[in-house]
Protein backbone atom coordinates (compact mmCIF):
# COMPACT_ATOMS: atom_id res chain seq x y z
CA UNK A 1 0.00 0.00 0.00
CA UNK A 2 1.42 3.41 -0.88
CA UNK A 3 1.77 6.25 1.58
CA UNK A 4 -1.13 8.24 0.13
CA UNK A 5 -3.45 5.30 0.57
CA UNK A 6 -2.17 4.64 4.07
CA UNK A 7 -2.57 8.25 5.08
CA UNK A 8 -6.10 8.34 3.72
CA UNK A 9 -6.87 6.31 6.82
CA UNK A 10 -6.39 9.44 8.87
CA UNK A 11 -9.16 11.52 7.39
CA UNK A 12 -11.33 8.86 5.87
CA UNK A 13 -11.05 5.37 7.27
CA UNK A 14 -11.74 2.33 5.10
CA UNK A 15 -14.65 1.63 7.41
CA UNK A 16 -16.29 4.85 6.38
CA UNK A 17 -15.62 4.26 2.74
CA UNK A 18 -16.88 0.71 2.91
CA UNK A 19 -19.95 1.77 4.81
CA UNK A 20 -20.67 4.51 2.32
CA UNK A 21 -20.26 2.20 -0.64
CA UNK A 22 -22.46 -0.43 0.98
CA UNK A 23 -25.12 2.14 1.69
CA UNK A 24 -24.76 3.63 -1.78
CA UNK A 25 -25.12 0.21 -3.36
CA UNK A 26 -28.13 -0.36 -1.22
CA UNK A 27 -29.79 2.91 -2.25
CA UNK A 28 -29.17 2.12 -5.92
CA UNK A 29 -31.35 -0.97 -5.66
CA UNK A 30 -34.74 -0.19 -7.16
CA UNK A 31 -37.55 -1.05 -4.77
CA UNK A 32 -39.87 -3.76 -6.00
CA UNK A 33 -43.52 -2.82 -5.90
CA UNK A 34 -45.48 -5.04 -3.53
CA UNK A 35 -47.88 -7.36 -5.31
CA UNK A 36 -49.94 -8.13 -2.26
CA UNK A 37 -50.47 -6.96 1.28
CA UNK A 38 -49.97 -10.42 2.78
CA UNK A 39 -46.80 -10.09 4.94
CA UNK A 40 -45.23 -13.37 3.82
CA UNK A 41 -45.74 -12.60 0.16
CA UNK A 42 -44.61 -9.04 0.70
CA UNK A 43 -41.31 -10.36 2.08
CA UNK A 44 -40.91 -12.52 -1.00
CA UNK A 45 -41.50 -9.51 -3.19
CA UNK A 46 -39.20 -7.04 -1.41
CA UNK A 47 -36.44 -9.43 -0.35
CA UNK A 48 -35.08 -9.99 3.12
CA UNK A 49 -35.87 -7.48 5.80
CA UNK A 50 -33.33 -4.84 6.70
CA UNK A 51 -32.01 -4.49 10.18
CA UNK A 52 -29.99 -1.85 11.98
CA UNK A 53 -26.81 -2.80 13.81
CA UNK A 54 -24.43 -0.90 16.05
CA UNK A 55 -20.95 0.12 14.89
CA UNK A 56 -18.69 -1.77 17.32
CA UNK A 57 -15.62 0.41 16.89
CA UNK A 58 -14.19 2.44 19.74
CA UNK A 59 -13.27 6.10 19.46
CA UNK A 60 -9.84 6.96 18.07
CA UNK A 61 -8.02 9.98 19.48
CA UNK A 62 -7.66 13.12 17.40
CA UNK A 63 -4.17 13.54 16.00
CA UNK A 64 -2.07 16.58 16.92
CA UNK A 65 0.15 17.31 13.93
CA UNK A 66 3.77 18.02 14.88
CA UNK A 67 5.81 20.24 12.56
CA UNK A 68 9.05 18.51 11.64
CA UNK A 69 12.35 20.01 12.79
CA UNK A 70 14.10 22.27 10.26
CA UNK A 71 16.61 20.43 8.08
CA UNK A 72 20.32 21.16 7.86
CA UNK A 73 21.84 22.93 4.84
CA UNK A 74 24.49 20.25 4.68
CA UNK A 75 25.93 17.49 6.85
CA UNK A 76 29.50 18.67 6.26
CA UNK A 77 31.16 19.55 9.54
CA UNK A 78 28.16 18.30 11.50
CA UNK A 79 27.80 15.59 14.15
CA UNK A 80 25.30 12.85 13.40
CA UNK A 81 24.24 10.46 16.16
CA UNK A 82 23.59 6.88 15.07
CA UNK A 83 21.13 5.47 17.60
CA UNK A 84 20.54 1.74 17.97
CA UNK A 85 17.10 1.04 19.46
CA UNK A 86 18.19 -2.45 20.50
CA UNK A 87 16.45 -4.60 17.92
CA UNK A 88 18.62 -7.35 16.50
CA UNK A 89 20.91 -6.24 13.71
CA UNK A 90 20.43 -2.49 14.23
CA UNK A 91 23.93 -2.16 15.69
CA UNK A 92 25.60 -3.88 12.74
CA UNK A 93 23.58 -1.91 10.21
CA UNK A 94 24.52 1.37 11.87
CA UNK A 95 28.16 0.35 11.98
CA UNK A 96 28.02 -0.10 8.20
CA UNK A 97 26.44 3.34 7.88
CA UNK A 98 29.25 4.72 10.04
CA UNK A 99 31.76 3.17 7.64
CA UNK A 100 29.87 4.64 4.69
CA UNK A 101 30.15 8.16 6.12
CA UNK A 102 33.88 7.70 6.72
CA UNK A 103 34.38 6.63 3.13
CA UNK A 104 31.92 8.93 1.37
CA UNK A 105 31.39 11.98 3.60
CA UNK A 106 34.50 12.25 5.78
CA UNK A 107 33.47 15.73 6.92
CA UNK A 108 30.68 14.20 8.98
CA UNK A 109 31.37 13.12 12.55
CA UNK A 110 29.33 10.10 13.59
CA UNK A 111 28.65 8.95 17.15
CA UNK A 112 27.23 5.47 17.73
CA UNK A 113 24.97 4.98 20.77
CA UNK A 114 22.72 2.20 21.97
CA UNK A 115 19.59 3.58 23.54
CA UNK A 116 19.14 2.51 27.17
CA UNK A 117 15.93 0.85 28.31
CA UNK A 118 13.55 -1.38 26.36
CA UNK A 119 12.96 -0.32 22.78
CA UNK A 120 9.61 1.39 23.34
CA UNK A 121 10.87 3.51 26.23
CA UNK A 122 12.41 6.94 26.03
CA UNK A 123 16.03 7.55 26.96
CA UNK A 124 15.93 11.18 28.21
CA UNK A 125 19.66 11.25 29.04
CA UNK A 126 20.57 10.32 25.48
CA UNK A 127 18.09 12.76 23.96
CA UNK A 128 19.65 15.50 26.12
CA UNK A 129 23.15 14.55 24.99
CA UNK A 130 22.13 14.54 21.33
CA UNK A 131 20.46 17.92 21.65
CA UNK A 132 23.58 19.39 23.25
CA UNK A 133 26.26 17.75 21.12
CA UNK A 134 24.60 16.61 17.91
CA UNK A 135 23.11 18.16 14.81
CA UNK A 136 21.09 15.23 13.47
CA UNK A 137 20.01 11.69 14.31
CA UNK A 138 19.82 8.48 12.34
CA UNK A 139 17.86 5.91 14.31
CA UNK A 140 17.73 2.30 13.22
CA UNK A 141 15.14 -0.29 13.98
CA UNK A 142 16.28 -3.76 12.98
CA UNK A 143 14.66 -7.18 12.86
Amino acid sequence: MNRRKLLSLLGMSPVVMAAESALAAQSEKKPVAPVTTHPALARLATGPAKITTVNPKGTPPAIQLIPMAPRLDSLDGKTVYLVDTGFHGSDMLLQQIQEWFKANMPGVTTVFKRKAGPYAQDDPALWKEIKEKGNAVIMAVGH
Binding site: G47, V54, G58, P67, R71, G142
Partner: protein, 436 residues
Protein backbone atom coordinates in the same frame (compact mmCIF):
# COMPACT_ATOMS: atom_id res chain seq x y z
CA UNK B 1 14.10 16.94 20.12
CA UNK B 2 13.97 19.73 17.61
CA UNK B 3 16.78 18.41 15.45
CA UNK B 4 16.38 16.54 12.16
CA UNK B 5 16.14 12.78 12.26
CA UNK B 6 16.17 9.97 9.73
CA UNK B 7 14.50 6.83 11.05
CA UNK B 8 15.50 3.61 9.33
CA UNK B 9 13.04 0.72 9.24
CA UNK B 10 13.14 -2.60 7.40
CA UNK B 11 10.63 -2.90 4.58
CA UNK B 12 8.57 -5.56 6.40
CA UNK B 13 7.36 -2.81 8.72
CA UNK B 14 6.56 -0.18 6.10
CA UNK B 15 2.84 0.15 6.85
CA UNK B 16 3.42 0.07 10.59
CA UNK B 17 6.09 2.77 10.42
CA UNK B 18 4.15 5.14 8.18
CA UNK B 19 0.85 4.72 10.01
CA UNK B 20 2.32 4.92 13.49
CA UNK B 21 4.25 8.08 12.60
CA UNK B 22 1.02 9.54 11.25
CA UNK B 23 -0.97 8.57 14.33
CA UNK B 24 1.66 10.34 16.40
CA UNK B 25 1.40 13.51 14.36
CA UNK B 26 4.01 13.16 11.62
CA UNK B 27 2.22 11.82 8.54
CA UNK B 28 5.11 12.86 6.31
CA UNK B 29 7.99 11.67 8.45
CA UNK B 30 10.96 10.86 6.21
CA UNK B 31 11.34 7.17 6.91
CA UNK B 32 14.12 5.34 5.08
CA UNK B 33 13.66 1.64 4.39
CA UNK B 34 16.22 -1.15 4.10
CA UNK B 35 15.83 -4.68 2.91
CA UNK B 36 14.48 -7.16 5.47
CA UNK B 37 15.74 -8.73 7.67
CA UNK B 38 18.93 -7.17 9.00
CA UNK B 39 19.13 -9.69 11.85
CA UNK B 40 21.61 -12.47 11.12
CA UNK B 41 23.15 -10.76 8.11
CA UNK B 42 26.92 -10.47 7.65
CA UNK B 43 28.65 -7.08 7.52
CA UNK B 44 29.11 -7.58 3.77
CA UNK B 45 25.41 -8.24 3.28
CA UNK B 46 24.49 -5.17 5.31
CA UNK B 47 27.03 -3.14 3.36
CA UNK B 48 25.24 -4.26 0.18
CA UNK B 49 21.91 -3.16 1.70
CA UNK B 50 23.08 0.39 2.30
CA UNK B 51 24.89 0.63 -1.03
CA UNK B 52 21.69 -0.53 -2.73
CA UNK B 53 18.24 0.94 -3.16
CA UNK B 54 15.61 1.85 -0.60
CA UNK B 55 13.13 -0.95 -1.48
CA UNK B 56 10.14 1.35 -0.97
CA UNK B 57 11.24 4.47 -2.86
CA UNK B 58 13.60 2.62 -5.23
CA UNK B 59 16.13 5.41 -4.76
CA UNK B 60 19.72 4.95 -3.49
CA UNK B 61 19.40 4.17 0.21
CA UNK B 62 22.10 6.46 1.58
CA UNK B 63 20.92 9.32 -0.61
CA UNK B 64 17.51 8.88 1.03
CA UNK B 65 19.16 9.06 4.46
CA UNK B 66 21.16 12.19 3.67
CA UNK B 67 18.20 13.84 1.94
CA UNK B 68 15.99 13.08 4.95
CA UNK B 69 18.31 15.27 7.02
CA UNK B 70 19.06 18.04 4.51
CA UNK B 71 16.26 18.62 1.96
CA UNK B 72 14.19 21.65 3.08
CA UNK B 73 10.78 20.93 4.55
CA UNK B 74 7.65 21.07 2.43
CA UNK B 75 4.57 22.96 3.58
CA UNK B 76 2.91 19.67 4.56
CA UNK B 77 5.86 18.77 6.75
CA UNK B 78 5.56 22.06 8.63
CA UNK B 79 1.86 21.69 9.36
CA UNK B 80 0.42 21.79 12.84
CA UNK B 81 -3.20 21.50 14.03
CA UNK B 82 -5.59 18.69 14.80
CA UNK B 83 -6.84 15.90 12.54
CA UNK B 84 -9.88 13.87 13.49
CA UNK B 85 -10.21 10.23 12.55
CA UNK B 86 -13.57 8.73 11.61
CA UNK B 87 -14.65 5.16 12.19
CA UNK B 88 -17.92 5.54 10.33
CA UNK B 89 -21.54 6.09 11.33
CA UNK B 90 -22.88 4.86 14.69
CA UNK B 91 -25.22 2.34 13.03
CA UNK B 92 -25.53 0.41 9.78
CA UNK B 93 -28.74 -0.67 8.03
CA UNK B 94 -28.91 -3.52 5.54
CA UNK B 95 -29.98 -7.15 5.30
CA UNK B 96 -28.53 -9.53 7.85
CA UNK B 97 -26.59 -11.35 5.15
CA UNK B 98 -25.04 -8.16 3.81
CA UNK B 99 -24.20 -6.92 7.28
CA UNK B 100 -22.56 -10.22 8.17
CA UNK B 101 -20.33 -9.76 5.10
CA UNK B 102 -19.82 -6.09 5.90
CA UNK B 103 -18.62 -6.82 9.45
CA UNK B 104 -16.33 -9.54 8.19
CA UNK B 105 -14.86 -7.48 5.36
CA UNK B 106 -14.20 -4.48 7.57
CA UNK B 107 -12.23 -6.29 10.22
CA UNK B 108 -14.87 -6.19 12.94
CA UNK B 109 -14.79 -9.96 13.45
CA UNK B 110 -12.40 -12.82 14.12
CA UNK B 111 -13.44 -14.22 10.69
CA UNK B 112 -15.97 -16.51 12.31
CA UNK B 113 -19.68 -15.68 11.99
CA UNK B 114 -20.85 -13.25 14.64
CA UNK B 115 -24.15 -12.44 16.28
CA UNK B 116 -25.04 -9.16 14.61
CA UNK B 117 -25.22 -6.39 17.25
CA UNK B 118 -28.69 -5.13 16.48
CA UNK B 119 -29.88 -2.22 18.56
CA UNK B 120 -32.26 -4.62 20.35
CA UNK B 121 -29.52 -7.09 21.24
CA UNK B 122 -27.18 -4.33 22.37
CA UNK B 123 -29.94 -2.87 24.54
CA UNK B 124 -30.48 -6.31 26.07
CA UNK B 125 -26.76 -6.61 26.77
CA UNK B 126 -26.78 -3.20 28.44
CA UNK B 127 -29.28 -4.58 30.95
CA UNK B 128 -26.44 -6.74 32.29
CA UNK B 129 -24.95 -3.73 34.07
CA UNK B 130 -26.21 -0.75 36.05
CA UNK B 131 -23.63 1.50 34.41
CA UNK B 132 -24.83 4.14 31.95
CA UNK B 133 -24.40 3.21 28.28
CA UNK B 134 -22.45 6.40 27.62
CA UNK B 135 -20.02 5.99 30.51
CA UNK B 136 -16.43 5.85 29.30
CA UNK B 137 -14.99 2.49 30.39
CA UNK B 138 -11.34 3.00 29.50
CA UNK B 139 -8.67 3.25 26.83
CA UNK B 140 -6.96 0.47 24.94
CA UNK B 141 -4.04 0.14 22.54
CA UNK B 142 -2.69 -3.02 20.94
CA UNK B 143 0.90 -1.88 21.38
CA UNK B 144 2.83 1.37 21.34
CA UNK B 145 0.02 3.31 19.70
CA UNK B 146 -2.14 6.19 20.88
CA UNK B 147 -4.99 4.41 22.70
CA UNK B 148 -8.65 4.45 21.68
CA UNK B 149 -11.40 5.09 24.19
CA UNK B 150 -14.80 3.39 24.47
CA UNK B 151 -18.11 3.49 26.27
CA UNK B 152 -20.25 0.83 27.91
CA UNK B 153 -22.40 0.72 24.76
CA UNK B 154 -19.38 0.16 22.49
CA UNK B 155 -18.23 -2.72 24.72
CA UNK B 156 -21.73 -4.18 24.53
CA UNK B 157 -21.57 -4.42 20.73
CA UNK B 158 -18.53 -6.70 20.83
CA UNK B 159 -20.09 -8.70 23.67
CA UNK B 160 -23.16 -9.39 21.53
CA UNK B 161 -21.01 -10.28 18.52
CA UNK B 162 -19.10 -12.89 20.54
CA UNK B 163 -22.30 -14.61 21.66
CA UNK B 164 -22.21 -13.47 25.28
CA UNK B 165 -25.30 -13.41 27.47
CA UNK B 166 -26.18 -10.14 29.27
CA UNK B 167 -25.22 -11.64 32.63
CA UNK B 168 -21.64 -12.06 31.33
CA UNK B 169 -21.38 -8.36 30.59
CA UNK B 170 -19.81 -7.20 33.89
CA UNK B 171 -16.82 -9.50 33.25
CA UNK B 172 -16.28 -7.90 29.84
CA UNK B 173 -16.55 -4.42 31.31
CA UNK B 174 -14.01 -5.39 33.97
CA UNK B 175 -11.62 -6.61 31.26
CA UNK B 176 -12.23 -3.52 29.14
CA UNK B 177 -11.59 -1.29 32.15
CA UNK B 178 -8.00 -2.59 32.36
CA UNK B 179 -7.20 -1.33 28.87
CA UNK B 180 -5.31 -4.56 28.13
CA UNK B 181 -5.81 -5.79 24.56
CA UNK B 182 -5.55 -9.51 23.86
CA UNK B 183 -3.96 -8.82 20.49
CA UNK B 184 -0.56 -7.17 20.66
CA UNK B 185 1.49 -5.75 17.84
CA UNK B 186 4.74 -7.55 18.66
CA UNK B 187 6.35 -9.92 16.14
CA UNK B 188 6.29 -12.50 18.95
CA UNK B 189 2.71 -13.72 18.40
CA UNK B 190 1.71 -13.25 22.02
CA UNK B 191 -1.03 -15.20 23.77
CA UNK B 192 -3.31 -13.97 26.54
CA UNK B 193 -5.12 -15.56 29.41
CA UNK B 194 -7.63 -14.69 32.10
CA UNK B 195 -8.35 -16.27 35.47
CA UNK B 196 -11.90 -15.94 36.78
CA UNK B 197 -12.49 -16.26 40.51
CA UNK B 198 -15.43 -15.94 42.85
CA UNK B 199 -19.05 -17.11 43.08
CA UNK B 200 -19.74 -15.80 39.58
CA UNK B 201 -18.05 -18.94 38.23
CA UNK B 202 -21.07 -20.99 39.30
CA UNK B 203 -23.66 -18.32 38.62
CA UNK B 204 -22.54 -18.11 34.99
CA UNK B 205 -21.85 -21.85 34.74
CA UNK B 206 -18.17 -21.55 33.91
CA UNK B 207 -16.52 -24.88 33.37
CA UNK B 208 -13.68 -25.47 35.82
CA UNK B 209 -14.00 -29.26 35.84
CA UNK B 210 -13.23 -31.75 33.08
CA UNK B 211 -11.77 -29.98 30.06
CA UNK B 212 -11.85 -26.61 31.76
CA UNK B 213 -9.62 -24.99 29.16
CA UNK B 214 -11.58 -26.51 26.26
CA UNK B 215 -14.73 -25.58 24.32
CA UNK B 216 -17.22 -26.98 26.78
CA UNK B 217 -19.12 -24.04 28.27
CA UNK B 218 -20.70 -20.92 26.85
CA UNK B 219 -19.20 -18.58 29.43
CA UNK B 220 -15.62 -19.81 28.90
CA UNK B 221 -16.00 -19.77 25.13
CA UNK B 222 -17.75 -16.48 24.51
CA UNK B 223 -16.10 -14.32 27.17
CA UNK B 224 -12.69 -15.35 25.84
CA UNK B 225 -13.78 -14.63 22.28
CA UNK B 226 -15.25 -11.27 23.27
CA UNK B 227 -11.87 -10.13 24.63
CA UNK B 228 -10.36 -10.56 21.18
CA UNK B 229 -13.29 -8.82 19.47
CA UNK B 230 -12.99 -5.97 21.96
CA UNK B 231 -9.27 -5.76 21.21
CA UNK B 232 -10.02 -5.43 17.51
CA UNK B 233 -12.95 -3.09 17.75
CA UNK B 234 -12.27 -0.99 20.83
CA UNK B 235 -8.45 -0.94 20.73
CA UNK B 236 -7.98 -1.09 16.95
CA UNK B 237 -5.80 -4.17 17.37
CA UNK B 238 -5.31 -7.10 15.07
CA UNK B 239 -4.70 -5.33 11.77
CA UNK B 240 -1.87 -7.30 10.15
CA UNK B 241 1.00 -5.03 9.14
CA UNK B 242 -0.41 -2.10 11.12
CA UNK B 243 -1.37 -3.05 14.66
CA UNK B 244 -0.48 -6.74 14.51
CA UNK B 245 2.95 -8.07 13.56
CA UNK B 246 3.07 -11.60 14.99
CA UNK B 247 5.05 -13.47 12.40
CA UNK B 248 3.38 -16.87 12.80
CA UNK B 249 0.38 -15.72 14.83
CA UNK B 250 -1.21 -17.55 17.73
CA UNK B 251 -4.25 -19.80 17.61
CA UNK B 252 -4.95 -18.98 21.26
CA UNK B 253 -5.96 -15.49 20.12
CA UNK B 254 -9.33 -16.82 18.93
CA UNK B 255 -10.70 -16.98 22.45
CA UNK B 256 -7.64 -16.71 24.71
CA UNK B 257 -6.93 -19.06 27.59
CA UNK B 258 -9.92 -18.72 29.90
CA UNK B 259 -9.27 -20.31 33.30
CA UNK B 260 -12.02 -20.51 35.88
CA UNK B 261 -10.25 -21.62 39.03
CA UNK B 262 -11.49 -24.82 40.65
CA UNK B 263 -11.52 -23.18 44.07
CA UNK B 264 -13.53 -25.96 45.65
CA UNK B 265 -11.08 -28.75 44.77
CA UNK B 266 -7.94 -26.69 45.34
CA UNK B 267 -6.01 -27.23 48.57
CA UNK B 268 -4.74 -23.65 48.42
CA UNK B 269 -6.08 -20.10 48.52
CA UNK B 270 -7.72 -19.01 45.25
CA UNK B 271 -5.74 -16.74 42.97
CA UNK B 272 -7.78 -13.61 43.72
CA UNK B 273 -7.35 -14.08 47.47
CA UNK B 274 -3.58 -14.12 46.91
CA UNK B 275 -4.04 -10.76 45.24
CA UNK B 276 -5.81 -9.23 48.22
CA UNK B 277 -9.45 -9.80 47.32
CA UNK B 278 -11.99 -11.57 49.52
CA UNK B 279 -13.06 -15.08 48.65
CA UNK B 280 -16.62 -13.89 47.94
CA UNK B 281 -15.39 -11.21 45.51
CA UNK B 282 -15.76 -11.79 41.79
CA UNK B 283 -12.49 -10.99 40.04
CA UNK B 284 -10.89 -11.42 36.63
CA UNK B 285 -7.08 -11.46 36.38
CA UNK B 286 -5.23 -11.03 33.09
CA UNK B 287 -2.00 -12.56 31.83
CA UNK B 288 0.19 -12.05 28.76
CA UNK B 289 2.93 -14.21 27.33
CA UNK B 290 3.88 -16.76 24.74
CA UNK B 291 1.63 -19.77 25.26
CA UNK B 292 0.88 -22.96 27.17
CA UNK B 293 2.72 -26.30 27.20
CA UNK B 294 1.66 -29.65 28.69
CA UNK B 295 3.41 -31.01 31.75
CA UNK B 296 3.70 -34.44 30.17
CA UNK B 297 6.76 -33.31 28.20
CA UNK B 298 8.76 -32.54 31.34
CA UNK B 299 11.51 -34.74 32.70
CA UNK B 300 10.40 -36.76 35.73
CA UNK B 301 6.82 -36.99 34.53
CA UNK B 302 6.47 -40.71 35.14
CA UNK B 303 3.14 -41.69 36.65
CA UNK B 304 4.43 -43.55 39.65
CA UNK B 305 4.39 -42.96 43.36
CA UNK B 306 7.59 -40.94 43.17
CA UNK B 307 6.28 -38.36 40.75
CA UNK B 308 7.79 -35.01 41.64
CA UNK B 309 5.66 -32.23 40.21
CA UNK B 310 7.93 -29.54 41.60
CA UNK B 311 10.86 -30.87 39.54
CA UNK B 312 8.60 -31.35 36.52
CA UNK B 313 7.45 -27.76 36.65
CA UNK B 314 10.94 -26.45 37.20
CA UNK B 315 12.11 -28.46 34.18
CA UNK B 316 9.36 -26.94 32.05
CA UNK B 317 10.09 -23.44 33.24
CA UNK B 318 13.79 -23.79 32.52
CA UNK B 319 12.87 -23.86 28.80
CA UNK B 320 10.85 -20.65 29.07
CA UNK B 321 12.02 -17.11 28.58
CA UNK B 322 12.45 -15.30 31.87
CA UNK B 323 11.13 -12.16 30.24
CA UNK B 324 7.63 -13.51 30.77
CA UNK B 325 6.42 -15.15 33.93
CA UNK B 326 5.74 -18.76 34.78
CA UNK B 327 2.13 -19.74 35.36
CA UNK B 328 1.40 -23.18 36.80
CA UNK B 329 -2.00 -24.51 35.64
CA UNK B 330 -2.49 -27.38 38.03
CA UNK B 331 -5.19 -29.99 37.97
CA UNK B 332 -6.47 -30.43 41.55
CA UNK B 333 -4.81 -33.86 41.71
CA UNK B 334 -1.47 -32.18 41.06
CA UNK B 335 -2.14 -29.47 43.61
CA UNK B 336 -3.17 -31.96 46.30
CA UNK B 337 -0.05 -34.06 45.63
CA UNK B 338 2.15 -30.97 45.90
CA UNK B 339 0.54 -30.09 49.21
CA UNK B 340 1.19 -33.63 50.44
CA UNK B 341 4.83 -33.16 49.47
CA UNK B 342 5.03 -30.21 51.85
CA UNK B 343 3.94 -27.23 49.81
CA UNK B 344 1.28 -26.09 52.19
CA UNK B 345 0.70 -22.85 50.32
CA UNK B 346 1.13 -21.62 46.78
CA UNK B 347 3.73 -19.19 48.11
CA UNK B 348 5.88 -22.03 49.43
CA UNK B 349 5.90 -23.74 46.04
CA UNK B 350 6.66 -20.44 44.31
CA UNK B 351 9.65 -19.89 46.59
CA UNK B 352 11.02 -23.35 45.74
CA UNK B 353 10.48 -22.89 42.00
CA UNK B 354 12.18 -19.49 42.05
CA UNK B 355 15.25 -20.79 43.89
CA UNK B 356 15.57 -24.04 41.98
CA UNK B 357 14.89 -22.96 38.41
CA UNK B 358 18.31 -21.62 37.47
CA UNK B 359 20.68 -21.04 34.58
CA UNK B 360 24.28 -20.03 34.00
CA UNK B 361 25.08 -16.47 33.04
CA UNK B 362 26.48 -17.76 29.75
CA UNK B 363 23.18 -19.44 28.84
CA UNK B 364 21.27 -16.41 29.97
CA UNK B 365 23.25 -13.98 27.84
CA UNK B 366 22.82 -16.17 24.77
CA UNK B 367 19.05 -15.80 24.90
CA UNK B 368 17.26 -13.59 22.43
CA UNK B 369 15.10 -11.88 25.04
CA UNK B 370 18.04 -11.13 27.30
CA UNK B 371 19.75 -9.19 24.54
CA UNK B 372 16.59 -7.46 23.42
CA UNK B 373 14.96 -6.54 26.73
CA UNK B 374 17.28 -7.16 29.67
CA UNK B 375 20.57 -5.82 28.34
CA UNK B 376 19.09 -2.33 27.76
CA UNK B 377 17.78 -2.44 31.34
CA UNK B 378 21.24 -3.46 32.56
CA UNK B 379 22.71 -0.49 30.68
CA UNK B 380 20.29 1.71 32.62
CA UNK B 381 21.38 0.13 35.91
CA UNK B 382 18.13 -1.75 36.57
CA UNK B 383 18.45 -4.77 38.89
CA UNK B 384 18.91 -7.70 38.83
CA UNK B 385 19.97 -7.41 35.19
CA UNK B 386 22.80 -4.92 35.82
CA UNK B 387 24.39 -7.33 38.32
CA UNK B 388 23.78 -10.38 36.14
CA UNK B 389 25.63 -8.79 33.22
CA UNK B 390 28.68 -8.20 35.48
CA UNK B 391 28.88 -11.83 36.67
CA UNK B 392 31.24 -14.48 35.20
CA UNK B 393 29.80 -16.81 32.58
CA UNK B 394 29.73 -19.83 34.90
CA UNK B 395 27.84 -18.06 37.69
CA UNK B 396 24.41 -19.55 38.40
CA UNK B 397 21.47 -17.14 38.50
CA UNK B 398 17.69 -17.54 38.79
CA UNK B 399 15.91 -18.26 35.53
CA UNK B 400 13.28 -15.66 36.37
CA UNK B 401 14.29 -12.31 37.85
CA UNK B 402 11.77 -12.30 40.70
CA UNK B 403 9.79 -14.83 42.74
CA UNK B 404 6.72 -12.77 41.87
CA UNK B 405 7.15 -13.91 38.26
CA UNK B 406 5.63 -17.25 39.32
CA UNK B 407 1.88 -17.76 39.66
CA UNK B 408 -0.30 -20.78 40.32
CA UNK B 409 -3.91 -21.53 39.44
CA UNK B 410 -5.84 -24.75 40.02
CA UNK B 411 -8.37 -25.95 37.45
CA UNK B 412 -9.53 -29.17 35.85
CA UNK B 413 -11.59 -32.28 36.40
CA UNK B 414 -9.18 -34.65 38.22
CA UNK B 415 -9.26 -37.34 35.57
CA UNK B 416 -5.46 -37.46 35.73
CA UNK B 417 -2.63 -35.62 37.45
CA UNK B 418 -1.41 -33.59 34.50
CA UNK B 419 -0.28 -30.03 35.01
CA UNK B 420 0.15 -27.48 32.26
CA UNK B 421 2.46 -24.50 32.29
CA UNK B 422 2.22 -21.14 30.63
CA UNK B 423 5.04 -18.74 29.84
CA UNK B 424 2.85 -15.86 30.87
CA UNK B 425 3.13 -12.86 33.15
CA UNK B 426 0.46 -11.59 35.49
CA UNK B 427 -0.81 -8.18 34.49
CA UNK B 428 -3.68 -6.97 36.61
CA UNK B 429 -6.81 -8.07 38.49
CA UNK B 430 -10.11 -6.23 38.05
CA UNK B 431 -13.24 -6.38 40.16
CA UNK B 432 -16.22 -7.79 38.29
CA UNK B 433 -18.61 -6.70 41.04
CA UNK B 434 -17.82 -3.07 40.31
CA UNK B 435 -19.40 -3.46 36.88
CA UNK B 436 -22.59 -5.26 37.91
Amino acid sequence: MGIPSAPIVTKAFKDLAILNAAKRGMPHERICFTQHPVWGKTPDELHAYIEGQDPVSNKPFMKEVVDALTVPLSDDEKKSGMVTVSVGPPTFTDTAENLQDFYLNNGYTDFLPVILPTEEKVDAMLKGTTHHPDEVVGKMAAGAYPPWSYTVRQVAASAVMAGCRPEYFPILLAIASTGIASLFSSTNSFAFSMIVNGPIRDKLEFNYGIGSLGPFAQANATIGRAWTLMSKNLGNGGIPGDTYLGSVGNNLNYNNVVIAENEEASPWDPFHVQRGFKKEDNVVSLFRGLGVVPGQVARGSSANENVQFDYQLSDLFSTFTGFFGALVIADPLVAVRLKEQGYETKEKLIDWLYKNTTQTVKDYKSRNYAYLFDYPRALRGDEPWASWYKMPDDAVIPHFPHASDFNIVVTGGQTNAYPQAANMSYGVSASIDKWM
